[in-house]
């Protein structure tokens, strides 16, 4: 079989509008696949998706709720009715829900936070409040604390550097942080490390409320009473059930005691609305914050500490609830033991129209279409597993427990994991394993933007061209044949598959338009979604076209569409970034230390103000990056050789396909990352102090960023070995194919 990696010529095949040789297929196979995809598209039904969206979002349906269980059963019934073999996998997971939530300003003035979101006559869903979870942060520890407030901006490491320069210590105080700029769980984690006794997180109107645009229901942005719920479990340490790290939370699983669960916060946390935050910030004193810390309230923002003093009390019901993962299987006609897994969670914090249902209804539409094709005699060659996860919101729990539970089988059989979650409209965004970069570029070429006469790829490239700032971004946007897919940190259910098990994964969604402030609030309703996000689900249908193609191509391709040139190019970029990071950090610290030594700070700072000089930092040594550069050289050569071999090769053996799909496992190490062994992938990880945000080559990168310079060289060696193992694998495949 012959196929082209870079062919983008238009070939007229059977009426399909956008035709090329599809990665992993020969010409005839491509033609058949295009025809299949045209039929797949024809069976997608936006009206039906919209009806599902309305139905599943009718009531709050978090894990443990009646509606959550009913939705799981409904989803299972639907899938079963279409011909899937369906199982509802049950896990017993710890889910704290609030018993007490109290927040009062006790001095200098009195104010009691309402901690409630308003029902709006314009949106009937907001009055449907059966089993409604009130605003809270899941996996906050219980606490009853009183102390002065300190404003910590977004609560990131760099924010504490500013506080330190102003001589402000949060020890013994209660930190009040804005939502945004870092994952919420990082805020109490860092505040706790700095000695704070509690954390309040609020949504600043400048970021998501009236400062950003008209607020709901007049516009899509955050209603003044809206509160972003969300988990604050320490997911960068491990996600999933806090009591069963590394193993499935089955009824009989061995569990930690709650006191030993290291991913529960060390200090109590409570999220509050703009309306509840204003009186607190207005009552604060101390020095005025720097311009970049200011928000949108009509008050002057001060650091504190105090004089505002608050009493914060949170108590939770530390109950176990059952998570219901719906697992629907359609056996492959030729390779039933090779699994393509396609998932989206079904639990929402409340009504969850955008998050997660906008993605889930795409998955259901795909599943129905695939099942109908199968019934009509065109079954997938490989097994397709559709998964609707429960308990994603409190910490990727449903997916993590299932992945941990079935780890051995998954490592053996899983070809890839394809994820979606809340989606909006605008531009396709795809993240994932870079062995799939070329694969997804073809799909972006083959799917049209639903409102414009151009492909998703052309539209995305236009955005990149318009927004490119650096020379590298400009060059990528203009000249790189494939658009880069983004490396994934965390934030949705791909994490256990990619980062714990080393299964090539991807995440797909639309965004960039249809922004808003409903995320994790009472206002993430059908009414909000269908008015402001993706009216008519036109982009929802496009998402089904993308994810459906990805599923079907992976299921049907005679040669699994893994490709290594894109991988090598991206890893090479990460290595360059590491070198630049080290150089920049070295120069910055040297410059700063020089300015400290020569008295520049002392001379330039205003002696009447609190801002002092930064602290001296240890100089950054030079590191030996040669092992990584040698490793990437080898990987590039191996990738080129495979490209040649695959282009001129015959249909690969099953052994080769297995070697291909299991190659991502080689980027993991059983020992995991330093200090967080659950995370085993050595190219992609969520940042230990950014949360969702990715750190590529995390062992090396975080050692540099966290000034652990002694650890850098060892991490360089480890990362190089990981890359070498991948090269070796590719070389073996090339050797096999040469025979």
């Amino acid at each position: 079989m012959r196929y082209l990696f870079l062919a983008m010529a238009m070939v007229s095949i059977g009426g399909a509008a956008y035709a090329q040789e599809i990665l992993g297929f020969d010409t005839a196979g491509s033609k058949a696949q295009y025809s299949l995809e045209a039929d797949f598209d024809a069976k997608l039904d936006k009206q039906e998706m919209d009806a599902w969206l309305k139905k599943f979002s009718a009531r709050p349906h978090h894990v443990g709720s009646t509606a959550g269980k009913e939705n799981a059963i409904l989803i299972a019934d639907l899938l079963r009715s279409w011909g899937y073999e369906v199982e509802i996998a049950e896990y017993e997971i710890l889910l704290p829900t609030p018993i007490t939530r109290e927040l009062e300003l006790v001095s200098p003035t009195k104010f009691t936070a309402s901690l409630e979101e308003d029902s709006l006559p314009e949106d009937p869903s907001t009055s449907v409040r059966d089993e409604l979870l009130p605003p809270y942060n899941a996996f906050s520890i219980d606490g009853d604390v009183e102390g002065e407030l300190v404003f910590v901006n977004y609560g990131r490491p760099e924010d504490y550097e500013v506080l330190e320069r102003h001589g402000i210590d949060v020890a013994g105080k209660i930190a009040i942080a804005k939502y945004g700029m870092s994952w919420r769980g990082i805020k109490p984690k860092l505040a706790g490390e700095k000695g704070a006794i509690g954390t309040i997180i609020y949504s600043d109107p400048a970021d998501e409320g009236y400062g950003a645009g008209d607020v709901y229901p007049k516009g899509p942005f955050k209603h003044p009473s809206a509160v972003q719920r969300g988990s604050v479990m320490d997911m960068p340490t491990y996600p999933g059930d806090v009591l069963t790290p590394g193993i499935g939370a089955t009824k009989r699983a061995r569990r930690l005691g709650i006191k030993d669960a290291e991913t529960i916060t060390k200090i109590p946390v409570l999220p509050i609305s703009e309306r509840d935050a204003l009186p607190l910030l207005a009552a604060m004193g101390g020095a005025v914050v720097p311009p970049e810390w200011r928000g949108g309230f009509p008050v002057t923002y001060h650091f504190g500490p105090g004089p505002a003093r608050v009493h914060l009390k949170v108590e939770f019901n530390w109950q176990k609830v059952t998570a219901y993962d719906v697992i629907a299987t359609l056996k492959g006609s030729e390779y039933p033991d090779e699994w393509v897994i396609r998932g989206n969670h079904h639990d929402g914090w409340n009504h969850g129209a955008a998050d997660p249902l906008s993605g889930l209804v795409a998955l259901l539409a795909e599943a129905r279409s695939v099942a109908e094709l199968a019934k009509a005699g065109r079954p997938p060659r490989r097994t397709i597993v559709y998964a609707a996860w429960d308990a994603e919101e409190p910490g990727l729990i449903g997916s993590t427990e299932w992945a941990e539970h079935h780890a051995r089988d998954l490592k053996e059989h899983a070809v890839a994991y394809l994820n979606t979650d809340g989606s909006s409209r605008g531009f396709i965004g795809i993240g994932g394993s870079h062995v799939l970069e070329r694969f997804f570029n073809q799909i972006m070429e083959d799917v049209q933007d639903p409102r414009m006469d151009i492909s998703l790829k052309e539209r995305r490239r236009a955005l990149l061209k318009l927004n490119a700032k650096t020379e590298r971004e400009k060059d990528d946007a203009r000249n790189r044949s494939d658009l880069r897919i983004y490396p994934m940190g965390s934030g949705s259910d791909y994490t256990p598959f990619l980062q714990h098990l080393g299964i090539a994964s991807a995440n797909m969604g639309f965004g960039g338009e249809g922004a808003g402030g409903s995320y994790h609030t009472l206002y993430d309703t059908y009414e909000h979604y269908s008015t402001w996000r993706d009216p008519g689900l036109v982009y929802g249908e496009a998402l089904a076209q993308v994810a459906g193609r990805a599923t079907l191509r992976l299921a049907n391709a005679p040669r699994l569409p893994f490709e290594f040139k894109g991988l090598a190019d991206n890893i090479s970029l990460y290595i360059t970034e590491l070198e630049e990071l080290a150089d920049k950090r070295r120069n910055d610290i040297e410059l700063r230390n020089n300015l400290l030594d020569d008295g520049t700070y002392a001379a330039a700072l205003d002696p009447t103000k609190t801002l002092g000089p930064p602290k001296r930092e240890e100089p950054v040594p030079y590191f030996n990056f040669a092992p990584l550069k040698n490793a990437i050289d080898r990987l590039q050569r191996a990738a080129d050789a495979y490209h040649e071999a695959a282009a001129s090769g015959t249909s690969p053996s099953r052994e080769v396909n297995k070697l291909l799909y299991s190659s991502e496992r080689l980027l993991t190490r059983e020992a995991g990352l330093s200090g967080r062994s659950w995370y085993k992938h050595h190219i992609y990880a969520p940042g230990f102090y950014t949360g969702y945000g990715v750190k590529t080559i995390p062992g090396v990168r975080e050692a540099i960023e966290q000034s652990e310079y002694d650890a850098v060289q060892e991490q360089v060696e480890i990362a190089s070995q990981v890359i070498d193992r991948m090269s070796q694998r590719i070389e073996s495949i090339v050797a096999i194919e040469a025979n």
Copy 2:
């Protein structure tokens, strides 16, 4: 006589702490001058300055007011009492003052703007309201208009480009603009050019109010009722009395009719407070503005037009008033016909403590000390003229009329003009003719920061080192022996001297600390100044030390301290900037046109939003900058030759000194700048569309910026000729000194 340009070695002379050979003096002369300056410093008296500040700011004292006249007489009396020959020069100038100021929101809701500033019990001065001028913009035309509001951000050219991309036209509408980012007069000028029928200017709380810091009286920032007054006359066309451009507004001067005065606005303008602006902005609709346009109100900002509709009515008393310039002369003992002029205005918009009195009291302290030294037998060698200008606020009128009135004498006799105006605390800032760059660097080396054991120059260099962003800024801050003085646009009384007459000028002040929002409001009081700006006038005294040294050195130096290497280096930088400007503009426009042609904008923009693509712009041709480069090469060689000649030369003849001080005249041309012949300087001018902001080599720069590409080459020739004339002058001096 031998002197060193770059000597910074410490020489112990007569107890003066910071000693070097002073530019223009030999060793013995430097010693004497240092001794004189030590005595000069000893006579400065902060308490007395503070008492003057309090006295002169006790009542509103704008031009035409009783207190304004009384202050002029008091100042004249003081100067006379110290031994000056004092004249009060009177000019009859047009000064519109308000009769009617009305602003109402007429739909969709009703609101009548108060247009009044609150008296505050914490600041008794704010209750002293005799003859108080209410908030208004001087030289707004009369008008009675009603129309929908359009929010134009800061009302700059680039803001109208954004409006155009959103399809919004201000024609027939009333523009509401934020104060800041451009000189206020530009806002109605541009709005009028775009067809608006009125302009409202308000102070956004994000810029100067609670968003910036605690508001008065709790802090220094803008009280919600505060309104920035100010002139909106088209000063970039010509400043001074609108009826007598180019000539002194003496009683009998020939005057234009008011209708022919082209510097009066074409549409009515009114400034309003934050408190009056909020209801207007809250009532606006239309698309939401981009993030960078948002301000600090707790509302979503919209472009309009409407539905907010306002009625704006302003009527003025177009009266003539008398401006009283106090001119005090101390005859030079050796060269009475060489004049060093030192000025600061005395009129304020209201109480005017910061603006202008903080600078004026420094001038008075200097004048007293200089007079006492003279009385004690150490008179200045050249004549010193102290000027306290009236009517600066409405448009640099007092200084301009005097300069125009005495133009011939000034061109003949003026060695230099040294200006101060409102000053605060922190870092010395010096702008001026670059022939004085080296001169002022020595002064910055010789004056100590009043709170730190370092020179003003060291403190300023520390700031530049800390804030440097570009490589050029970093290199300047770290390595350039002299700190650059900034090129001057407009904004104070140096303009007629420098830009109309070509007299080497400078402006001095402290800033960077003691920020606030009292500028041109009722709250620019003694209480505000002495609490928040420069308590105890410690920086006020340092300002007197700087300006006093500048005056005395220029008055006493055997060789006038003009130096051309700094001039050449700065002009060389401006030429490089012009080339970079043309290249950047060419590249930007080419890139933008390409993105328009290849459909990128069409593909990337959200079709549901109002933002459209930018308009195509004419490609920027390549220009021949060789004449400028040849001219700067010659100037650099001439400057080097003079440096050598002066370093090895004897005491110069009077002819040489005159050739030196009149050299700045050669940078002017009688024809003036294109379209604004009053501005004759071809290296420095205020921007035609920026107002105060300087444009260096303005003929060339503005032709490029305003896409008048056909005019560029002619302007390059003109600027080159101007530079060549300066080179020729320097070459003649060198030739004379060689004989």
